[in-house]
Amino acid sequence: MTVEGNQVIDVQRVVKDFRPGFGLRRKRVLHGVTFQVYQGEIFGFVGPNGAGKTTTLKILMGLIRSTEGSASILGCDVAESEFRDRIGFLPENPYFYPFLTAREILDFYARLCGVDSRQRAARISELLEVVNLSYAADARLRTYSKGMLQRVGVAQALINEPEVVFLDEPMSGLDPIGRKEIRDVILSLRAAGKTVFMTTHILHDVEMICDRVAIIVKGAIRHQGRIEDFLPDATVSTDVVLSRLPAETAAELEEKFSVEMRGLGERVELTLPEKRVRDVLELALASGADVISVTPHRSSLEEVFLNAVQEGGDPE
């Protein structure tokens, strides 16, 4: 758990209007987005497709300008470019010059970031090792798979040893091993005191690694806070699986506790409120039944996310 210390990213009431075409009415895609990210935390920015995640990220990267509001990174206005040697950025589905090799493209980005020529080669080799691409370092990028390009993208985002790293869908296109590798890289960044801002669709990853999260729906922030605040410890329900349950006990359970039973061959599955679990288990065990499993269920981020999406009417 991180302590909310120095503010690294500050987004205040950002509004963005796009004109879909010449002569057409402007369309508002961000409605006063406000959030802060603090030093050393992993911040998850989640939302459905078209919610405004990438637009917000592009504003932070200076690729598009906000219509209203302000955004700053490390105390610098996002419209400036000088501070960008202190940040790293991985766009969604990154594409690189196909005629270059991974080593050459990293050298190119290192030069743009002003990485000292004496440290460049060592830094590139180190990063290729980190993203597990050393074996293909001198192959042309046109021969790379999507997952390999994603890893090159992660490497280029880290080439300048940034203080803040922005990752747009970093797990996209990766197999389970690749996802774990990238998760490990993100966790190692936090361990090194860096700040990570990531957008993702994979809520399981957010639950696993993010300290705080903001949910954006239709261009407006619906929820934001610590991941623990989203996921209270209280168990919502418990699944109990029993075998060799006598018919009369089953009838008694149904009558006494009004539980719903589902037959699974010789087994039965019951879904219970937490307060009934002890009584049901005592009765079942006393009747000679075997307890196969007891699985408590907590509210997941996915449920919070789905609720936020369903609740979300038009912001204005």
């Binding site: 796009f18 592009k58 960008r84 040697d85 940040i87 950025f89 010059y97 030069r111 743009l112 970031c113």
Partner: protein, 258 residues
């Protein structure tokens, strides 16, 4: 200093990318082919064979070099946006002006290199045909180099905010007008209507005058090229290029990359 290093990195990368463009080799091949055809056509004449040969060859060099400058230049920025390579570049400490200048410098270097190759072919053909070669020829070719530098800047300018199709249309249009604007002004001066004269004068002033760089006639006929005209061409090319890139940068600053 850092800014120069960033522009250099972008220029080198643009140069490497341009060298992989098939269009470059197609137009370069055609250019060299036309130089060869020039030899054949020149032999059809009984008078001034050398002058006709060199005139045709220099025309081919100008035409095909301009083709390379325009048709690679128009996609210079657009391709970066379309492929989204610009996202990672602009997220580094690279200003949009540096990006534009780096792209322009890389392509200018590429067209200078192909101009050098065509100039070499020109030298070989002239030598084989026994046509005289002098400093005038070198100056005329160097001035084509300045013309190409400006042309790349114009293509980059349009590429910064419009589609390759429109950028091609505008750049080719400007190049053609730039070679005709003196004739247009001369035509306007003949007119009795003051409005026509004013309009042709205005077009001449606003549009680039590419004839400043055309010293083919003097070179081919061994006429002296005054130093003042060379300096005028240098200053004109530099001034116009800087202004074009500056305007391009101002527009590019305001562009959203969706």
């Amino acid at each position: 200093m850092n800014s120069l290093l960033r522009v250099q990195a972008l220029a080198v990368n643009t140069f490497r990318e341009a060298l992989r463009n098939k269009l470059l080799y197609t137009l370069l091949g055609f250019g060299i082919l036309m130089i060869g055809v020039g030899v054949l056509l020149a032999t059809l004449s009984y008078v001034e064979v050398d002058e006709i040969l060199q005139d045709m060859v220099m025309g081919a060099i100008r035409f095909f070099s301009a083709g390379i400058a325009i048709f690679i230049g128009i996609g210079l920025i657009h391709t970066e946006i379309e492929r989204r390579t610009i996202f990672t570049i602009l997220s580094k400490p690279v200003s949009r002006t540096e990006f534009l200048i780096g792209k322009w410098a890389g392509l200018t270097f590429t067209v200078w290199l192909q101009l050098g190759l065509m100039a070499l072919a020109f030298g070989v053909v002239s030598s084989l045909a026994g046509a005289p070669l002098g400093a005038g020829h070198a100056v005329a070719i160097a001035l084509i180099g300045l013309e190409l530098m400006l042309l790349v800047a114009i293509a980059t300018f349009f590429s910064a905010f419009t589609t390759p199709m429109l950028a091609a249309l505008f750049t080719v249009g400007l190049w053609m007008i730039g070679h005709l604007s003196r004739d247009l002004r001369a035509l306007g001066e003949q007119s009795e209507l003051e409005s026509v004269t004013s309009m042709t004068d205005f077009i001449f002033l606003v549009m680039p005058d590419f004839e400043v760089f055309n010293k083919t006639l003097q070179a081919v006929h061994g006429l002296p090229i005054p130093a003042s005209e060379i300096w005028l061409a240098i200053v004109y090319a530099l001034g116009y290029t800087v202004c074009t890139l500056l305007f391009g940068s101002m527009i590019f600053q305001r562009r959203d990359f969706k």
